[in-house]
Symmetry: C2
Subunit: 516 residues, 2 copies
Amino acid sequence: MSTTLNSCAGKAIGRFISKPKSFPSDGFPLRPGFHRSGFSVKLQPHRTFSSSRICQTRTSEMSKKDVASLKVSQERLVGDIHHTAQWGTGKSWGDGPTEKGLSRLSLTPSDASVRKWFISTTEALGCTTTVDEMGNIFTVRPGLNNDLPPVYAGSHLDSQPTGGRYDGILGVLAGVEMLRCLNEGWVETEGPVGVVNWTNEEGARFPISMLSSAVWSGTIPLSTAHSLRSVIPASDTATVKSSLESINFLGSTPCSYTATPMAAHFELHIEQGPHLVSSKRKIGIVKGVQSYKWFTITVTGRDCHTGTTSFEHRADALVAASRMIVQSHRSAAGKGALASTGIVKVEPGSTNTVPGTVRFSLDVRAAHDTVVDAVEQELKEDFAAIAAGEDVDGLAAGGVKGIPCEVEWQTDSISPAVDFHEDCIRCVEEASEGLFGTQNLEKLTMKMVSGAGHDSVETSKRVPTSMIFVPCRGGVSHHPAEYCAPEDCAVGAQVLLGSVVGYDRLRAEKVKEGSV
Amino acid sequence: MSTTLNSCAGKAIGRFISKPKSFPSDGFPLRPGFHRSGFSVKLQPHRTFSSSRICQTRTSEMSKKDVASLKVSQERLVGDIHHTAQWGTGKSWGDGPTEKGLSRLSLTPSDASVRKWFISTTEALGCTTTVDEMGNIFTVRPGLNNDLPPVYAGSHLDSQPTGGRYDGILGVLAGVEMLRCLNEGWVETEGPVGVVNWTNEEGARFPISMLSSAVWSGTIPLSTAHSLRSVIPASDTATVKSSLESINFLGSTPCSYTATPMAAHFELHIEQGPHLVSSKRKIGIVKGVQSYKWFTITVTGRDCHTGTTSFEHRADALVAASRMIVQSHRSAAGKGALASTGIVKVEPGSTNTVPGTVRFSLDVRAAHDTVVDAVEQELKEDFAAIAAGEDVDGLAAGGVKGIPCEVEWQTDSISPAVDFHEDCIRCVEEASEGLFGTQNLEKLTMKMVSGAGHDSVETSKRVPTSMIFVPCRGGVSHHPAEYCAPEDCAVGAQVLLGSVVGYDRLRAEKVKEGSV
């Protein structure tokens, strides 16, 4: 069927118009949710596109102000957040009925329940669902030219075992709200738009984070991902594949950026850090993701009795490891990087035995790969000197030199810095500007680099990507008390909607220019 | 029966004489093992004592040289060490048949086997056995005046789960060898002498070290000790009492210093430290036991994401704890004390989460209580300052000040310094002098303070006590490769024998003076 353009008068009620109670029916098939354009009288005369004979508004013909006037419903969005938290309700952090965390491990029955809700809700909004071999769910709202790949909003619906209601969830549910707003606003996008729920982003049940977006991007082979085993105790011996089968989410579509292509990927997420909160900003315009490397450091000394061995005769692996941890903090601080140790294993682990072996994790991060490498290089030298009992920057001052220890480095993970796509970053910035006004843009937004990994790291390897951060209370996440205020959820969803529509407009221009 | 003194001619063969093939029998009952005095012709005419009509040598009439000429058999002693290691054979550390550790947890079937061997062996040497309510085994060789309490050699036959063949074992088996030497040398002591095997010294299966000597001394109530439960995994839910019953070692004699009194307690032990080995000395003359305190320190910060939280926004409990551990080493070094951390628990324990809680053990030791107290006091101030983010002695230099943490101290154990009895210390010193010669005494012995706790700490609360240390390879103990060279075992046993005989002579003098 060819595209036809018909004149159609919009019915203006303030900035928004109410939906007509009934729709014209003239024998043409109607796509559910694609019925009538309802826009401000300042718009160009409305027209119908595509197969529909009903008035709709084409994104490429909306002004920035029109885009900004598409308003998400805070009540509806926050309602969805708390409604879906019935599946995997976590620990309480307060007395209120919604003051509870979330415990929704990937591919469990509670995950299956929220997935079914996601599919039925978005299909009721006129979308088509695709489930791939990793259980990733792509829900797509058709646009004018459905030969184009969809612009996606995406994140994940799984949580940490003692997680909160916002990490990942907000990004998917804001995508659902985006679909509602597009319907409500009678907007027809140039190409399709969609929402994607990525499987096992948390890496909590199956121990690789961003697992399924990484299969989609080609980083991790499907067979590796399918055979990954649960690390949750209590005799859960399931693999990813067996879990997908058991909840009926093993799709037939290949998990690949070629089988389910994207035009772009936008991800709304809580910041999981304190910078927006502490600077009283509302939106983080995420330019990229930090570079990081993960190491396991093993310090080997010699076990001995705490009471019978003088300091001179000790090879105390823990005193050495403690100096290394202090030094890693200094080195990173000196280079504008971050260094963190989250795991320490001390052997043999007895009050009256000087530890002979200490293993600790070391997580080094910075905006640029070169800085991470410089910290690594400096610490390799410093740790060797500390193990040898030398005084590094006064750490051994006042102590007694003992027997040297040995130190070994194991590199567990290398994640180079990611630069998000400038078009996507500009879309987020413009959506923020549309919401806050040019005069408030600098005051209320912050260009930032994500410290954490997200599915967007994987999508950015294949398609233009950016992220939108919103503040979360105290910077806390991965905890039942993780909290994003309702108004902040809505602001984030508003910017997500604006970014997706903005990108759709942008690609229309590019299609016009012949550059896509 | 009254004591009779008869003249008796000794039969000299060099320094030692062979035992007669047959013994005179004149109708008088003979106590097994108490048959004939066989000493150097330089001695006073030999006489028989007590109920025996057979020639024996009274310790109070032996010269120092005579005492020194009672020679332990290295072969016999080391033979016993390896023979009894069949009960609870541990991990191999070498290829040789005896190059294995010991795994003989208290009150297990293997412990029962070695106990039976101990009783049958010492009873065959003429001793009488008493088993008390804690399964402590007192084996006593009668002396001239059996109204006097026995002078004991004592230690323990139990081991750590992955222990060695010497810790404790050497002290008991050297006691057995002492009994053999007294028999072989036809020595009648002034009062009885004995050997004691203390139950559960290691505190490995039942988690209180020196458990049964502490009941004996009145430090721990019997009911507490009896109800102590096994901490060994694999469904061992036994209590001390049920274990005593199951191996048939729940004696009827009250476990108390009044029910089984002692004149003195001497304990031969491997040093469990490197000081004798590294100074090439053979005997440690132990003057006492260090003072120590055990603490659990809890540092509370706040969990946060390693990637999303700048140093300024962190309350990193592990960076603080690492600085505290470094500082504890410094503080102790500055005061001639020891500080050690053997256990560290980091929560939540994830590579990409800055730890919100760190708990670590702190073991502070020094020769004097006042020094331990001074280290504790200094560290309480320093740790509070470190937790608050202040720079203590340059530890925070070059770092970034974050959010303050909190620190809490819990005192788990206080063990004041123990001074052993000067009479016992002198006996050990004189026995060493007798063995090495006055000219070598200083070169081959070292007066020292025990860094570890031993059953002698408990006995010293009630009776004159001292210890004898021998070198162990690399200072290693509580490990299968724990090793004391055969000649060092023999030297230690020789000094033990000399000390017990020396104390018996000393008390004879005191009895004579009327001071006992």
